[in-house]
């Protein structure tokens, strides 16, 4: 069954203006999220995944600017609609589960006040009605109603994260952006929250854009993923395909560096660091670190080429992917 496209991000580019210069945070980012599916956006810290995701809701820093692209949601370009329209889309159609639950709740308001506020902005709902709905939501995420009168500092990290999840689902949005929701939690709680989110996604048939730097988490959650590097998408496709048969050298390296994916073997890391985005790099952005780099890579900038049905990769030499994959498994390739 072909699901309809819910969100279509086209060629998104965002720049930050700082004292030292202009940082080209993301460039040419394009991907689609279909209704009811879980789409993963994975990449190391600083690759721009959070920036791209939050831009969907129109949330970017005051020194940032969107320099190109469209974000089509339900037939409208979210980057070009009026402020009033955007605030109506926020939370009601697209909600956010923030990364740092410790800090995401206002310390001076009770839990009830904050969830009620989210509802009140979009619906004319009275407190008793709201309480019923919250009870329902808390049932879904496994929270007791008595915390409603508490303040955020009285709750544990895991509880706060559950509150955020419940709050995100309050208005039955079509899409939920989960921005690394488990990063700030310890491992046991992480697992619980992951199971929770996955369960909810399937049960409520809500589309989730899941962002993480941890590819193993993504592999448990999502059906389609995009790999980001240095502000761009370098590989895109269905989960199984990308993990089993990666086409981009960076993805291959990423899989090598991740335990428990694929076969049991030594962890190999990618030497070097991502490029400084204050200067637009010439050629492929991964070229300085790529073990398979050729001359063309340093001079020309590859597009996101289609490789196999729905699959895409940003590399000139995807035809040699088979060879690359084998070489990538060996340690000395990466020295």
């Amino acid at each position: 069954m072909v699901k309809p496209t819910l969100l279509d991000v086209k060629n998104l580019a965002i720049e930050y203006t700082m004292r030292g210069g202009v940082i080209h945070a993301i460039d040419g980012v394009s991907f689609e999220v279909k209704a009811g599916e879980c789409f993963g956006l994975v990449g190391e810290s600083g690759c721009g995944k959070s920036t791209a995701a939050k831009a969907i809701l129109g949330l970017w820093a005051s020194n940032a600017a969107v320099t190109a692209g469209e974000i089509i949601f339900n037939g409208r370009d979210l980057l070009r609609i009026g402020r009033g329209d955007l605030s109506r889309v926020r939370w009601k159609e697209i909600a956010l589960i923030p990364q740092n639950a410790m800090n995401a709740l206002d310390p001076v308001y009770t839990i009830f006040d904050q969830i009620y506020e989210a509802m009140r902005i979009h619906k004319n709902v009275r407190k008793p009605e709201a309480r019923e709905r919250i009870a329902e939501l808390f049932g879904l995420v496994g929270l007791k109603e008595d915390i409603l009168t508490h303040f955020p500092h009285q709750l544990s990290g895991g509880m706060k994260q559950r509150v955020c999840i419940a709050m995100a689902l309050a208005l039955e949005p079509q899409l939920v952006i989960a921005d690394e929701p488990t990063t700030a939690l310890d491992v046991l709680i992480q697992d619980q929250i992951l199971q929770l989110v996955k369960g909810l996604q399937i049960r409520l048939q809500v589309a989730v854009l899941y962002i993480s730097h941890d590819i193993s988490i993504i592999s448990h959650m999502c059906t389609r993923i995009a790999v980001m590097y240095a502000g761009r998408i370098v590989e895109l496709g269905d989960l199984r395909g990308v993990l089993k048969t990666p086409y981009h050298p960076y993805t291959m390296g990423l899989l090598n560096a991740t335990p428990n994916i694929g076969q049991v073997r030594e962890l190999i890391s990618i030497p070097g660091v991502p490029p400084d985005l204050r200067v637009v790099p010439k050629g492929c952005r991964f070229a300085p670190r790529c073990p398979f780099v050729k001359d063309r890579c340093r001079l020309e900038d590859p597009d996101l080429y289609a490789v196999d049905g729905d699959r895409r990769a940003r590399c000139f030499f995807t035809s040699e992917a088979l060879t690359f994959r084998e070489l990538a498994q060996q340690e000395q390739t990466w020295k």
């Binding site: 809701l57 949330l59 926020r90 939370w91 923030p98 800090n103 206002d106 310390p107 001076v108 989210a118």
Partner: protein, 325 residues
């Protein structure tokens, strides 16, 4: 810590401060060069009166006895007799205190509210022209000593254009029968206007700059972004969430503000001939009327401590983390 424990701790702290303040006062006024009797008598008094006073204030006894006597006397309300007025200091000071209190309460409210508002708007529109203008406005008035702005205001608005009275607390000859009439009539407000405006312009710089920094820090917090993500209008994000949090450091700093404001109000009272503790103390010290000067100082200190307690209460009410732990 529970509500009770918090307030109890603050109350104890206030008492200790009061004790230290009074000790400083004791040392200060007993430190007069020359005759220890000079602290309680003026040179014009006869030897007999002086002897009486020496006995009464135990000036011939060792210092520690005097110290205890000082505290006992003060707690009883016996602050000595004013040389100039030839009346008990306590009565005089009490009357003046209410005048100072009215003035300073209004100044506090106006300057802190204005300052807070300026700080919030300035931070919200950071970097814009409004921000720069507001900052310059606040800084400018903070650089202008209130004594001078008072003088300039008096010159222009009172002497030249006759819009406001030249000083004092009410027009001569006005009569009132009760407290309400005393303070809530137009004449009084007419006299109150200039001192309040001039003081507030000077004092608002402090909460303005403080609130601005606090806002800038809060605006970077994750919950502000989440508030926006919920679809809240920017105004609501700024006031309901950012400002509501920024007010906490602003109130914490109220202790500093209170000490500063009570000192500064002295000059304001003097310039506007406002019959409060400030003016009284300046004249008392000028005339070497030590008992009166001392009494004024004690009362000012008392008011400061009381104001601090109120600020602590307000903070406890505003920050749930203090109380619910």
């Amino acid at each position: 810590m529970s509500k009770q424990r918090y307030f109890f701790r603050r109350a104890v702290h206030s008492l200790i401060t009061l004790w230290v303040l009074m000790t400083i006062l004791f040392c200060l006024f007993r430190l007069l060069p020359g005759d220890p009797v000079a602290a309680v008598s003026s040179p014009e008094m006869s030897a007999e009166v002086k002897r009486d006073l020496i006995e009464r204030f135990e000036l011939d006894k060792p210092l520690y006895v005097q110290y205890v006597g000082f505290f006992r006397g003060t707690l009883r309300g016996d602050l000595g007799i004013s040389f100039a007025y030839q009346r008990p200091v306590f009565g005089i000071v009490l009357a003046r205190a209410s005048n100072t209190l009215i003035l300073i309460i209004v100044v506090f409210i106006v300057s802190y509210s204005l300052g807070f508002l300026i700080g919030v708007i300035s931070a919200w529109k950071r970097g814009s022209r409004i921000d720069n203008v507001l900052l310059l406005f606040a800084l400018g008035f903070r650089s202008a000593p209130v004594l001078w702005t008072g003088m300039m205001a008096l010159y222009l608005l009172s002497y030249l254009w006759h819009v406001f009275p030249v000083g004092g607390i009410r027009s001569p000859g006005s009569v009132s029968t009760n407290f309400f009439e005393h303070f809530f009539n137009l004449d009084f407000l007419h006299h109150l206007f200039l001192p309040v405006v001039v003081s507030s312009l000077y004092f608002m710089g402090f909460p303005a700059l403080l609130t601005r920094s606090a806002m800038l820090e809060v605006m970077d917090e994750d919950f502000i972004e989440l508030a926006r993500a919920k679809g809240l209008k920017e105004v609501a994000v700024m006031f309901k969430h950012a400002a509501r949090n920024a007010i906490l450091p602003a109130v914490t700093a109220a202790a500093v503000f209170i000490g500063w404001a009570f000192g500064g109000i002295l000059t304001v009272e003097y310039v506007f001939s406002w019959p409060g503790l400030g003016t009284e103390m300046v004249y008392a010290v000028g005339y070497r009327d030590y008992p009166l000067a001392q009494g004024c100082f004690i009362f000012i200190g008392l008011l400061i401590i009381a104001a601090n307690l109120v600020a602590d209460f307000i903070y406890g009410y505003l920050d749930p983390r203090i109380v619910y732990q």
